[in-house]
Symmetry: C2
C-alpha cells in the first residue's frame, strides 16, 4: 500500500518536528505543525496559543479554560468541555488535511485519528533523557525548571492526553508502524529511513 | 557507536526469527536462536525442549517443573526456583555470547540482558493479528487451537516473563532502539533497515 500521509508522534525534545520537516522537504509534500495549530484555532475560535498549549495536553476541566473559549457564538461548543470541543475540532481538521493529499503531520494524536487510513505511515520518535535534555536547552534555551523537569512535565501531559482520548498507551510500539530512537540512530538517519519507506511503498 | 550485537525481540508469528537469520547472513555474523537454546541446556542441565518451552515464558512455580531440573548435581540450583535458575543461566550464556563478538540474538529478553552494551542494537518486531495468524498457519501448520488463540497464549507468556524478569513493559518502544511492524513494512524491508543501520554505524 502506497504511503502518502506520515504522522509523527514524539517525546518532547527527541527531534520529531525536525524529522517531520526534513521528511516533508525531501518528499516535496506539505508539513503541518504550526499550520495545524492555526487551522484548529480558526475552526474552533480558540486563540492559537491556547490550541498550542492545550491541544496535546491533559484535558483541562477548570473553569479558567472557559475564559479562552470562543466568544459570541452561542452553542458552538454543544455542551462539550473546552478540552473535548478542542479535540473534536482537532479530529476534523486532521481528517480534512489528510483528505487533501500527501502530507506530514506532527503530534496531536494524528496516529490515532488517522488509524484507519491504510495510506498513512505512523511513526513514533523518542530518545533517552540526556539526549533530549541537551537538545531542548540548545533549541529552546534555559528556563527556571531543569531540562529534566521540563521533559517529564511535557511528556506526562502528552501521555495523559493520548490515553484519555484514544484509550491507548502512548509509546506502545504496536500503535505505530515504526518507532525510532533518535539518540541512537540520529535525526538524519531517521529521516532517511522514513523517506525510503515512503519511496519503496510507491514502487 | 558501532553496532555489533543485534537483539531481536518479537511478537509470535511476526517474522522476527526470519529477519534475524537474514540480517546475520547479510552481515556475515553468527545467528543465535536454536544454538542459544542448546547452550543454555548444556550449561543448565535442562533438556533443550524444556529450555525452548520455558525460557521465554511465564515463570513456572509448579512442583512439576522440578521433574525437569538437572539431576545428579546436588546444589547446582542454589535454592533457586527452576524458572529463576534457568533465567540466571540464560543471562550468563547471552552475556558470554555477546562478549565473543558480533552476532544476532533472537528472543530470550536479550534486549534487557544486554541493555548496558552500547554496541548493541535492540529491535522489536511486531505485526497485526491477521498477518501473524496467516503466517503461523503457513509456517507451523494448523493445530487444535485457533491461530488467534495460539498468538494470544504465546504473546501473553512472553509478556509476563519479560515483565517478571525485567520490570519493564514488553513492546514499550523506549525499551528498544527500533520497532518495526512487519505487516506494514514487510520482512525483507525490515531486514534491509536493520542491515543499513549496522553498516552506517561502522562508517
Amino acid at each position: 500500500m502506497e504511503k502518502k500521509i506520515i504522522t509523527i508522534s514524539r517525546e518532547f525534545g527527541s527531534g520529531g518536528r525536525t524529522i517531520g520537516r526534513q521528511v516533508a522537504e525531501k518528499l516535496g509534500i506539505p508539513f503541518y505543525d504550526k499550520e495545524l495549530v492555526d487551522q484548529i484555532a480558526l475552526e474552533s475560535g480558540f486563540a492559537p496559543n491556547y490550541v498550542e498549549e492545550h491541544g496535546e495536553h491533559s484535558p483541562g476541566r477548570s473553569l479558567f479554560a472557559y475564559a479562552f473559549a470562543p466568544q459570541g457564538v452561542p452553542g458552538v461548543m454543544n455542551g462539550l468541555s473546552t478540552a473535548d470541543f478542542l479535540w473534536s475540532v482537532q479530529c476534523n481538521v486532521i481528517l480534512q488535511l489528510a483528505d487533501q493529499g500527501p502530507c506530514v503531520i506532527v503530534g496531536r494524536n494524528a496516529d490515532y485519528i488517522l488509524k484507519d487510513r491504510e495510506d498513512a505511515l505512523h511513526v513514533f520518535v523518542f530518545a533517552d533523557e540526556p539526549f533530549r535534555a541537551e537538545r531542548i536547552v540548545r533549541l529552546y534555551g534555559e528556563s527556571e525548571k531543569s531540562p529534566e523537569a521540563r521533559l517529564h512535565e511535557k511528556d506526562k501531559r502528552r501521555r495523559v492526553n493520548y490515553q484519555h482520548y484514544t484509550g491507548r498507551t502512548w509509546g506502545q510500539a504496536q500503535n505505530y508502524d515504526l518507532c525510532l530512537d533518535t539518540g541512537v540512530l540520529g535525526v538524519e538517519q531517521c529521516t532517511d529511513i522514513i523517506v525510503n519507506i515512503v519511496k519503496n511503498s510507491q514502487k
